[in-house]
Symmetry: C2
Subunit: 439 residues, 2 copies
């Protein structure tokens, strides 16, 4: 990815920098925190995603000539502040939850320590990436857990912005999806891509048989034939006739799925196509996938619901100043005090308390200094530290970047999910799976 990310920013961040440069407070060392006050309604846990993308965007967060010229022409800040912006690059430190980590209300997902001006500029880009990507990953993780090991492909690019589609494919992959239809996500993040044909391909041909023959000629009998353009029963029969009993898979994109899938399986078996798989792709979400757990489905394709966070299209994370140094160099905790949006000030650390079976029991948020490592907490239990250094002195840890970082996040998510108590996997509405305790 190329180009400046500096204008993915709300105007008030620049006006705050402008005003704070005038009275000198811009240079006060500050600590900002990104966290979610609550999980989306009824959810038991969330999955952090976006971190790797964010680190790359922060590296590209520079005001180049084009950005400075636009800010000058539009008088967004004073000319003196433009000089400061021209020199800007983030030189601070960021600690946070690893991408793929599970989170709960109040989990300090990122802490950004830098001068006020350096850190406040990142508010929008931090929240855009974390909110969108975590929304998708949190929904996707629920779908993965109810799919019971059957592969799921993300195919929702058409139901979200063309660029957010690429991020959504990545977030779903981190959450355990196996592939995406999105080619740019394949290229950028090395995610397996999939897809064969739409109904248009069948309708293009003079007959369904012509279409199937063309597809099998092009891709071999291992391909997936879409069998519901006209009549599923005749489609299946034709598919096996054209491709033979070695047909790879049939795809079903409509109808009452539990019934249809059962009858297609029966028909395939009767036709001797016992190895032909069934993939379904019709408006699935975590609830319909769960409803298919007893059906002979081999794989799922999910679109709209995953890229829109399945009812929770933004994860609700906020970015708050929680501490700053005063003129004497002392750290002071700060927090907004108003109704319903109060936050907890102060530098934080976090650990997850696990019991003797390595099941998560509590999210511990330490205000002030927290535990430095994997210390014993009580007999038979221990604390898993949750925050790792992501950016040090402006330099991102390369382990979290690019395709390798994406793969690492996916692996970390799998491990972190294994710690969740069984209640976390209930689909019905409920409270967070473990409580968050401030110490």
């Amino acid at each position: 990815m190329t180009g400046s990310a500096a204008l993915f920013t709300d105007r008030y961040e620049l006006t705050m920098v402008d005003a704070a440069l005038q009275d000198g407070t811009a240079h006060r060392e500050s600590l900002f925190e990104a966290f979610a006050r609550r999980l989306p309604d009824g959810r038991r846990y969330g999955v952090v995603a976006g971190t790797g993308r964010l680190l790359e965007l922060i590296d590209r967060f520079r005001f180049e000539d084009a950005e400075l010229e636009w800010l000058r022409e539009n008088r967004v800040v004073r000319p003196e502040s433009l000089d400061w912006l021209a020199d800007y690059r983030f030189r601070g430190d960021i600690w946070g939850y690893r991408e793929g980590e599970v989170y709960f209300p109040g989990s300090p997902l990122l802490t950004i320590q830098a001068t006020f001006a350096e850190a406040v500029l990142l508010e929008t880009v931090v929240l855009s990436t974390l909110n969108f990507d975590s929304s998708v990953a949190s929904a996707a993780a629920r779908m993965v857990s109810v799919a019971l090991g059957r592969p799921i492909a993300e195919m929702g690019s058409r139901r979200t912005n063309e660029r957010s589609a690429v991020a959504a494919a990545r977030a779903a992959y981190i959450a355990g999806f196996d592939a995406t239809s999105n080619l740019e996500a394949g290229r950028t993040w090395d995610i397996p891509t999939m897809g064969t044909a739409a109904h248009a391909f069948t309708l293009l041909h003079d007959s369904e048989e012509d279409a199937f023959r063309a597809q099998v000629r092009a891709f071999g009998t291992e391909t997936t034939l879409l069998v519901d353009t006209y009549d599923i029963r005749r489609g299946v029969e034709l598919a096996v006739r054209v491709a033979g009993q070695g047909l790879g898979a049939v795809r079903i994109d409509s109808g009452d799925l539990p019934t249809v899938v059962a009858s297609v399986r029966e028909q395939l078996d009767e036709l001797g196509a016992v190895g032909t798989r069934i993939t379904v792709t019709s408006d699935l979400d975590e609830f319909t996938i769960a409803g298919l757990s007893g059906a002979p489905v081999d794989s799922y394709g999910v679109g709209t619901s995953v890229v829109t966070g399945s009812g929770a299209p933004a994860a609700g994370m906020v970015y708050k100043l929680v501490a700053r140094r005063d003129d004497a160099g002392e750290w002071i905790s700060v927090a907004k005090a108003s109704t319903s949006k109060a936050s907890v000030g102060g530098r934080k650390n976090a650990a997850r308390r696990l019991d003797s079976t390595r099941t998560a029991r509590e999210e511990l948020v330490f205000i002030g200094d927290g535990p430095g490592g994997d210390a014993e907490f009580e007999p038979g239990s221990h604390l898993r530290p949750l925050m790792v250094p992501l950016v040090t002195g402006g330099v991102a840890d390369a382990a979290y970047l690019g395709a390798a970082g994406t793969a690492a996040a996916r692996a970390h998510r799998a491990e972190a999910m294994q710690e969740l108590p069984i209640e976390a996997f209930r689909l019905g509405r409920g409270e967070a799976a473990i409580p968050t305790t401030y110490r």
Copy 2:
């Protein structure tokens, strides 16, 4: 904007092209249509947005060396098909509803006529732009209509992907929002930007008074002071003390808004700040804005709900092959026949039937040839044609592009909304405001 848009594409579009190039059907002249089977649950109308962005993306839809190399390495298509892709640019015709137009279920929002291969490649990019942008515009238009002329600013960048934020700002502006906090949207689409300070600016300072003084020194007394960091009553009192009775505005971002706004207005008037405006920004949507219609609010700032389509984050549009030529050169209507996702085949035209008061009464979709102009339909009523040429022979009409196209879409939306019957503006759930009739 720069860079190729060719991989904002689902893999199956390329595999269909690959297979259709092998059997020659790729070159069959085809007609694809984008439409919504239904409006989001309970909505009365939708607003088309994304068209201008789409036309720019289509112009950038080229397979450059980097894309071709990735497709080759990953064997997405055969080597022979790569040569076709290397030469690809869209050379067909696109007709459609103007950006900003109101739409209903079945409205033929776009028709794309080209060879099958040329047109099928655009499926994802067509739907990503129309679905996302129209979702935002449709939600935004409802907010605008209940704001009763009070200005609304879009400030939801942090609650959607960093790139979709730019598109969302544009879609909200087309739907009648007055400004955005998003700087990139300001730069790219010439949308007015706004914003002054967050709670962090107050917390950065040793006192609220210091923060207000710094802001007034930087931006003058016309600025907007955020008064709810600690205690709203004291915040308002301090704001007027610092800025004087000429203070531009106070912003309230929390609390029970109808009550709080009324008491802040009273307090401002008592303090002699009778010209100081009140802007509110706390988790607003069309329902809370409607609930504030009797409150002395001067302007609104809306975030999460507008960028996420206020409960309908994807507009549900689909892209279907509706007609193609056969080998004899005759047009044949085609349509999927399966349950619940059937579509209406054939070339379409559309017009809105208006009564003598220029109120919309019916969405007429003509299958085959439709009306060419503004013909009289019955005494006292007439038809307004809805489809205009957007792309001719691969060349987009420049009137729909860039900042000027965005402004034109905003103006067109205002005109089209004036035709809607009064029932369309009810917030409660209901049917589409006018019926769609196929002729």
